[in-house]
């Protein structure tokens, strides 16, 4: 082998595995591009998702004791009927399977007999049908091919729509952890209280039968809508949900206790179950606003932006001033415009908060208009 080829082979080995004689050009590239290398990346807190069916050892325990086996037979039969009823899919059994979603029970009652609600057993949820877990059952639902819903105990939901580009469920009560990897705007969740929005890739929604609840976003961001109220909840933030008035003020979970408490006071004062004109409610609201403004730090611009349209006209200038001090309004956004709640200006200011592009939401809102009115809904927005 002549010198030229020998040298070339050494350079090739350096490119392959770093051995051999370093090629000066490759070395230079390595050095200059090192600044882009993945270093010290901290893994996120991975949620425990009950990925695998949980196989309990209840059957082993029972079968090792003949007396217990006989004693529990009747109970198991009764439980079989109960579980069967709970897991039965109701309302429109004749719809085609292709539009259904796969439901897998991941945790069953300890007394549940084999073959009825065995963990790992799969069934189909069809459009128009309801699914319900009892107080000790959990399930996992494949949202077509775009995501997964982890259904906590005592939860009831209905599948409303599953067409190309539009998937929709109604959460009547209970808790759902949703992980959606579809393009933004494809997945919608109705709740009894808040209307319409699009959500981030990963969030937890809890709601009781009265419509009260909490939405927490883990990844991406979430739009929540009810009547005239819109709330956008980015990762790390949460918002309460109230019957009729819908989504409360979003707040970052790292916010101070003072701010979080004041947000809860403000939301409850606005709750439609109160008399909005009463002196007590007015005073509660005013006190809450004062505390929120005093406690707000730069990250709480999220809360203040949502506060603007929800305070009285007399309180709005103070909220404007505090928000402007934390995040100056961008060019084209005027005090007068914000005080009269000019939507374009509010949207423009939101975009400077760097919590997500509100233009996405507006486009989805148009796309879903007409179908959002009525019950509360949640929709998926893109991760930031």
């Amino acid at each position: 082998m002549n010198e030229r080829y020998k040298k070339q082979a050494e350079y090739n080995e350096y490119l392959w595995d770093g051995s051999g004689k370093p090629d000066s050009e490759i070395r230079a590239l390595e050095q200059v591009l090192e600044q882009f290398r993945a270093t010290n990346l901290t893994p996120p807190a991975f949620p425990r998702l009950d990925l695998a069916p949980q196989h309990s050892s209840w059957w082993q325990g029972i079968s090792s004791n003949g007396r217990t086996l006989r004693f529990t037979a009747a109970t198991l039969t009764l439980a079989a009927i109960t579980i069967g009823l709970l897991l039965s899919l109701r309302e429109s059994p004749s719809l085609p399977n292709k539009s259904g979603w796969s439901v897998e029970l991941t945790k069953a009652q300890p007394e549940s007999p084999p073959g009825v609600s065995t963990p790992g057993k799969k069934t189909q949820l069809q459009i128009g049908q309801a699914f319900e877990t009892d107080s000790s059952s959990k399930a996992s639902i494949a949202v077509a091919d775009i995501g997964r819903l982890e259904v906590e105990p005592s939860t009831r939901l209905r599948l409303l729509q599953s067409s190309q580009g539009h998937k929709r469920v109604a959460l009547d009560h209970g808790t759902i952890q949703a992980t959606i990897w579809a393009p933004p705007g494809e997945f919608v969740m109705d709740t009894p209280s808040a209307t319409a929005v699009d959500l981030g890739c990963m969030y937890t929604l809890r709601v009781d039968e009265s419509g009260r609840g909490l939405l927490h976003t883990t990844l991406g961001w979430v739009g929540f809508q009810s009547g005239g109220h819109e709330s956008f909840i980015p990762a790390g933030a949460a918002a309460a949900i109230y019957p009729r008035t819908g989504p409360g003020l979003p707040y970052f979970e790292k916010a101070t206790d003072a701010l979080r408490t004041a947000v809860a006071q403000f939301d409850s004062a606005n709750d439609a179950s109160n008399d909005p004109g009463s002196d007590a409610v007015t005073a509660q609201r005013a006190t809450a606003v004062r505390i929120i403004l005093r406690a707000a730090e730069s990250r709480d611009a999220l809360t203040l932006w949502h506060l603007l349209p929800r305070v009285s006209e007399s309180d709005r200038p103070t909220v404007y001033s505090r928000l402007a001090a934390l995040v100056p309004p961008p060019p084209g956004v005027t005090r007068e415009g914000i005080l009269r709640l000019d939507r374009a200006m509010l949207d423009s200011w939101w975009n400077t908060l760097d919590l997500g592009d509100i233009g996405l939401w507006r486009r989805f809102e148009q796309g879903w208009s007409g179908s959002l009115a009525g019950s509360g809904t949640v929709r998926k927005l893109a991760p930031k």
Partner: protein, 196 residues
């Protein structure tokens, strides 16, 4: 015939444990594959946006893990998720070329390999790599930026060692040509400025 035991810290064992909900095992997979995911994303999106997307990839992969039938394909499966997330990201965000962190000096001399080093040059070189065919750009970024060796890239991506070698060499060849062209262009522009 006895089935060979799978070491408890093998990728297959960690994937199996993760599929059972063991988040510590998934954390170990994160440590092993974070450079791969980072590199795959860096080949497609701006460096300032990569870190957040890396997290998205792993958080999106976790709940889908049970759908992975063959644990040995974890790396290529994860890389596919990363590519899809990069595509989604482009749909949402108007793509802009990599911009240097420091302002470009109009009088800056054209790049020579001996003078590589400013952020501006680094950003331009990264753009050059991204302009290569995808198979080359991804493999080159894994090797030159992320510091993975060819055998590592092969093991993590599931590509054969031969394919990785070819991608590295052809990619490097094309990159050299692009850098030379860029250098010549820079010299001409510099000369024009001097004449002007």
């Amino acid at each position: 015939m006895e089935t060979p035991a799978i070491p408890h810290d093998s990728d297959a064992a960690l994937v199996a444990a993760s599929q059972q909900g063991d988040t510590d095992a998934f954390g170990q997979l994160y440590q092993r594959y974070v450079r791969l995911v980072h590199g795959v994303l860096l080949a497609r999106v701006r460096s300032t946006e990569v870190e957040d997307l890396v997290q998205d990839v792993f958080l999106r992969a976790l709940p889908r893990l049970r759908d992975l039938r063959d644990a040995s394909r974890f790396g290529s499966w994860l890389a596919t998720i990363a590519r899809n997330i990069a595509t989604d990201h482009h749909r949402r965000v108007q793509t802009q070329p990599e911009s240097p962190t420091d302002s470009a000096d109009p009088d800056e001399q054209p790049m020579k390999s001996s003078s590589l080093g400013t952020s501006s040059e680094a950003a331009e070189i990264l753009e050059c790599i991204r302009s290569l065919p995808e198979a080359y750009s991804e493999t080159l970024i894994l090797r030159i930026v992320e510091g993975m060796t060819g055998p590592e890239i092969s093991a993590r991506t599931g590509l054969s060692p031969g394919s990785v070698r070819v991608n590295l060499h052809r990619g490097m060849q094309q990159l050299r040509q692009k850098l030379t062209q860029r250098e010549s262009r820079g010299a001409i522009e510099s000369k024009n400025r001097t004449i002007g």
